[in-house]
Structure formats: C-alpha cells, structure tokens
C-alpha cells in the first residue's frame, strides 16, 4: 500500500527539500529518544510525552511555512520546534528544568516560545486555547500589513473543547490567515476517538464553520507537506482559515508513565508497520534520493549533534530558588520595548481614511438571497457565501475508507498530493 501511494507522489520538491524533511523527522525522533534515556536516568523533572510515529505531521506542516509565519506547537510537536530553528538543547533543558532553558525553569516540556525571532507562541496545558490566540495573531498581523500565516495543532481529544469552537468560528468570520492541523492520533489519553466524536472524519467539522478542509495521511510526510503548503498559501492569499485532519496513531501512551494497555494489539501492529520514517526511507531509496552512505552521514551527524546538545543541557544549573520571585509583570520599556511592526501605511487605519459609515451593509438582502447572498460582506473584506453547488464539485467526497486504521486517500486528481481537498461548499 505504501509503495502504491508514494509512487504517485509527484516530484515537486527539490532534492534538498526531500532530504530536509527526512533530516527533521530523524532529528525529531532522535531528540525524543535522547529524552527517554534522560527520563530513565531521572533527569527529566516532570512527565515526558512522545510523538513517536507522528513525526511526519510536526515536520511536514511546519516545513510548509515561511520564516515570518507564526506557530504554536502542542506537546507532541517537538518536530515543529526543530524545523522552526529551536536547538535541541533548549528542548532538553526545558524538560530538565534547567536555568539556561528558554523559561529558565519556570515551565517545562515544550511550553516555551519566542515572539521576536522564531515567532513561536507557547502552549498551555488546557487544550484548544491556542486556536483563538493564533486567530488573534493572524488578524493582528493582517491589520499591520504583514503577509503571514499562523498555524497551530490540536488533537482529536482537544477538538471537543469549547474554545476550539469559539476560536475556529471567530477565525472563520474574520477570514483569518490561519491553518489548524487536527492531528487525529485516535486516542485521547485512554479514550478512543469513537468515544469522543461521532464522526468518521473530524475534518467534517470544518463544514460547520463554512471553511475548507483537507484529510491527509499523517504518516506520509510528503503528503502532509504538500497539503499544508497548499493550505498555507491559500490562507495567505486571503481565502480564510483551513482545517487539515492528519490521520495517524499515538504509538506510545499518553506520557511515559502510561503503558497504554488499552490499545488493541492489532491496531498497534497495523500502525507500527506504517512508521513514517521507515516509509519515507523506502520512498527516498526508490527515488534514489538517499543511499546507505547518505543515511550513515545523517546518523553520524545526529549522534554528534545530540551528544553535544545533551552535554550542554546536563551541565546547565538548576535555577536559584529565589528566581521563583519576580518577573510576574512587565515593568515597562526597560523590560520589553513593545512596538508594532507596521508593513502598511498607518494612514490607512487612522482617520480620516479609516472613517466609515456605521451601518451593516447587506447587498444580497432583498434579492432573494437574503444575507447569504453571494456578496454579503462579513465585517470587512467580502466573505463568499457558503453555497452548495449543484454539480458534484461541491459535494463532500468521502475521502477516506471506512476503517479507522486505513487512511489512504481515494484515487482522484488530488490523490497525487496524497490529500483529498474537500470541495468548497
């Protein structure tokens, strides 16, 4: 199955891009393997969460972004941090609560960010909260004239939160340049997706917001990349938010403490045979992009890099106890110089040019279309109405086969990208 899928893959990427995707997936896995060792040596302070088997999603989605774009990774998106340029030592030190870590020991795991350079927003443990926040970054950046896209991830479990709905709905009404990756790994801690959501495809939720969605095989990094690239550029072009459901499987427990005995053996076996890195190695080898020598080079590079990064992390001190105090408030310019970066003329948003008539304009009203008329504006900019086209184009094509396990896309012109672009409805 995997060869059939990968063979259809068009060679749209450069050799370097193909190899980058491979390198980052390997780096993602190697960083996490190093942390498992640290965990077993009791050097990790809190819990350790794994993205084993989900690396293609973190890497493929974030690799589709430009440097200026903003991300907000979740706990299983260490790969996205690495693609963005976070050094592995920062991730090690975060988990080890070291003083040289980005949060200096005040928070752990992947809970850190970088507003100014890498444009990363830190997550909190409450799920879904990043969705309105990244919507705000998207709207704010558009207001400033920055042509950026914001992207965050949510799990199948997190998609049941109220703030998922509030955030995605607000993003849709604002046509925010925002992409949401719904990483469906089939398990929310011990609860299978069927006990959480009565839907075959979580991407169907996009319909409720009048936005477009894609379903992609989350274990196929090139498919994830191609789909994300298309979604990101459509969002950047002003088409509004887009939801991508990436089908995958959480190979380990919720965290290190959880042996995940509740997962059926057959399910685990099915997915272990579909390891995203192994699949991709086969593809790269078939396409003559990587040989044994090239692989050895990467093995060595990772070994050297991570040994050094780990050593740095282990040598970093714990924060001094009194560092618990202070830092709660920004004290002003000496603390943070807060200045918006304008990339459009300020005169556009200041009077008199900003001045408008304060009425709701509903051009479609009275034409038989009501406020759902083709050019009915929502806020500013015109939002295309959600119309069911009589032709098949508009009908949601069942993109995924019945079994929750199987995630190959149906053959269609879109299958070339490994994703089914759901019709615009």
């Amino acid at each position: 199955m995997e060869t059939a899928m990968t063979k259809q893959m068009p060679r749209e990427l450069t050799r370097q891009q193909y190899l980058d995707l491979y390198y980052y997936m390997r780096l993602n896995r190697a960083v996490e393997e190093t942390m498992v060792k640290l965990f077993r040596q009791n050097k990790i302070v809190g819990g350790l969460y794994s993205s084993l088997g989900q690396e293609a999603i973190s890497v493929g989605t974030s690799y589709a972004l430009q440097k200026k774009d903003w991300i907000a990774p979740m706990i299983r998106n260490i790969g996205a941090l690495l693609v963005k340029g976070v050094p592995p030592r920062d991730i090690f030190m975060q988990h080890m609560a070291k003083y040289d870590s980005p949060t200096k020991g005040r928070d752990g795991t992947s809970h850190f960010g970088d507003l100014d350079n890498l444009h990363i927003v830190s997550p909190i443990s409450m799920l879904g909260d990043l969705i309105p926040v990244m919507t705000g970054v998207a709207i704010g950046a558009r207001y400033l004239g920055q042509k950026i896209v914001t992207l965050t991830w949510i799990g199948d479990g997190g998609s049941s939160t109220g703030v998922f709905h509030e955030g995605l709905n607000f993003a849709a009404t604002q046509k925010a340049p925002f992409v949401l990756i719904l990483e469906n790994n089939l398990w929310a801690y011990s609860t299978p997706v069927r006990r959480q959501v009565p839907l075959e495809n979580l991407a169907d939720r996009a319909k409720a917001y009048g936005i477009d969605s894609y379903i992609v095989d989350g274990n196929n990094v090139v498919a994830v990349y191609n789909t994300s690239k298309e979604a990101v550029e459509r969002a950047r072009a002003g088409e509004g938010p887009i939801l991508i459901e990436a089908k995958t499987f959480r190979r380990l427990g919720h965290a290190q403490h959880d042996p995940a005995e509740y997962v059926p053996k057959e399910m685990r076996a099915y997915w272990e045979a579909r390891d995203p890195i192994a699949l991709y190695e086969k593809f790269l080898s078939t396409e003559k992009l990587l040989d044994a020598g090239g692989k050895k080079e990467i093995d060595d590079k990772l070994d050297t890099l991570l040994a050094a990064e780990r050593e740095f992390a282990e040598n970093s001190p714990m924060p001094p106890p009194e560092f618990a105090e202070g830092g709660v408030y920004c004290t002003g310019d000496d603390c943070h110089k807060i200045r918006a970066k304008w990339e459009r003329p300020i005169t556009e948003v200041t009077p008199p040019r900003s001045s408008v008539e304060a009425v709701w304009a509903v051009p479609g009203f009275g034409s038989g279309k009501g406020s759902g008329g083709a050019d009915a504006p929502i806020h500013f900019g015109d939002t295309k109405a959600v119309v069911e086209h009589p032709a098949n184009n508009g009908r949601p094509a069942k993109a995924v086969t019945k079994s929750a396990g199987k995630t190959t896309t149906r053959k269609s012109s879109k299958a070339a990208t490994g994703a089914s672009r759901k019709g615009r409805r």
């Binding site: 909260d129 705000g136 703030v163 920004c330 004290t331 807060i338 200041t350 001045s355 408008v356």
Partner: protein, 339 residues
Amino acid sequence: MVGANGAPTNGSATSGKEITFLEAIRQAMFEEMERDPAVLLMGEDVGVYGGAFKTSEGLLERFGWERVIDTPISESAIIGAACGMSYLGLRPICEMQFIDFIVCAFNQITNFVAKGHYLWNAPAPMVIRGPSGGGVHGGPFHSANPEMYFVHTPGLKVIYPSTPYDAKGLLKAAVRDNNPVLFFEHKFLYRRIKGEVPAEDYTVPIGKAVVRREGRHLTILSYAAMMHTSLEAADALAKEGIEAEVIDLRTLLPLDEETILNSVKKTNKCLAVHEDTRTGGIAGEVAALLCEKAFSDLDGPVLRMTSLDTPVPYAPTLEEYFLPNAKKIFSAARELARY
C-alpha cells in the same frame, strides 16, 4: 462635543467641562485610538451599535472596521484573539458586554494571558473592560462584582474607578501599560456620576489609592459605587462629630498598601466597605494587611461592610437588603468609633 453621527467633532474631544462616567470611558478609548493606531477595540456589539451601554459610540465611524471589531458571542475567543494581537505589539481593548460574562473566558485570562510574562517572557498589553456591579436590578447574571477572582491571579492588574476623572485617566494608563489590565466600570455610575476632566491628555497612575475625605476618627476604605455611598455615610457621621477618612482604592491589584497604612496609622480604626460579597472580598485582604503591618496602631477590630454571601437577587426589595448602603455603613462606622 458630539456630532450628529455620534462621533466627536474633533480629535481633542475634551474641553474641561463636566462629563458623565460613561463619557469619560468613551473619551479615553477615543483618544487612545486617536493617539496610537496599535489600539483596537473588540467585543460584542461594540461597532455599529456602539456597545450595549453606548460606551463605544462613534468609534466605528471614526476608526473603521479593522479597529472596531464586532465579534461573535465568544468571550474566550475575544480574550484569546486579543492576547494573540498583543504579541504583535498591538494594544487591544476587549469589551465584555456585561462583566458577568468575563468568567466565560476565565481560563484564557488566568492561564494564558496572566501567566505569559512570568513563564515565557511574553508581555500581553491588553485591557479587558466592561460594566459591572448591582443596584440597577439587573439580576444575578448582570450585576456581578467578579473582581476578586482576578485579584487572586498574579500577572493581572485590576482597576475599579469611581469618578469620571479617574475612569478616563486610569483607562488611558491601562491601555499604555505593558500588562493585561482588567478595568471594571460600575454601571450604576455610568450616567449618575458627573465630573470634570482636563482638556489635555492625562493619565492616573495604576496602583495608587486616593484620600477622598480627610478625617481623624476612623478610616473607611472603599472603591467604585460604594465609595460614593461611603462619602454619604461620612457626611452623616460628621453630623455626629465623627470625622471619617474615606479612601478610594481605585486599583485593587496591585493594592496601594502605603496609602492604607498611612491612613490607619493616623485614625487607628478601619472599616472596609465593598459591594462584592463578603467571603474572599478585598476587605479580608485589607484586614490581614493591617494585622501584619499595623497591628500596634489598631484601637479596634477591622470591620467589614459588604454584600451578603449570596448571588445578587433580582427583586428590588431583596437586592436592597443584599447591598450595603449609607445607613449600614453609618451604623458600622459609629460602632467602630466607640472603641
């Protein structure tokens, strides 16, 4: 001052004359948006309608759709999006249509917005404001004083003004502050209280209380609508020869300990008055502060005059019974003065 379309006729809308509490808030937002294009307003019905209480009337006309954003009924989305905007150096103002609804966004405020600076060095310069308080028969879901949920949250600043001058100056200070600031507007004051504001730009410092009336026999600490009620009680007390010093806290977080301690060291007695319910109210915090830092100065117990520990009831008879009033403050103060 206000043109036919509701917008002020010129940029400097203030002229040094008497304005309502509500107009002070509108002017603060107007002038801050005029001054700094990084300032935006977001909330339910704040645009075309001008806000449920008309605090944002005329803002959409002048600043346009991108800066005055009508949102869905999604308090978490409003706060979350404002937080995201603040990460770009913008300074959004979020309106909660009634401050009661702020708790719908409790997680966004207390976990996301408030903790960012401490945890990952991310300041969130934003203001969350809205009409609060009772006495207008709004019932249990349109009369709340939820300030203490947030006073208990490190990372936030909490303002609750009582005069048009302070409302305008403190709201401007809040917009310019680099931290998330909660700004409570007692709706009883909106159209009942008038006061003069300067024609020129000014701010009132956050975290500074003010002595509203000097006195020597006891200190009455209060804020918002109850500050006016306390002044009324102080007038009645004066007729009995009891000179109460009335302090308006203005900011609840950070609390101006210095002004409180200076006053109590002079009067040696303190009655803390608030419209918020009793248990866990700021009066308890004040009592603890005085025990820790002014115990030897006290000539009597620190007393509290607050609302009852119940939801805000709807019927006027019940609400009247629930709320503190000048008579109750007068009685409590007179009792305290006897020590």
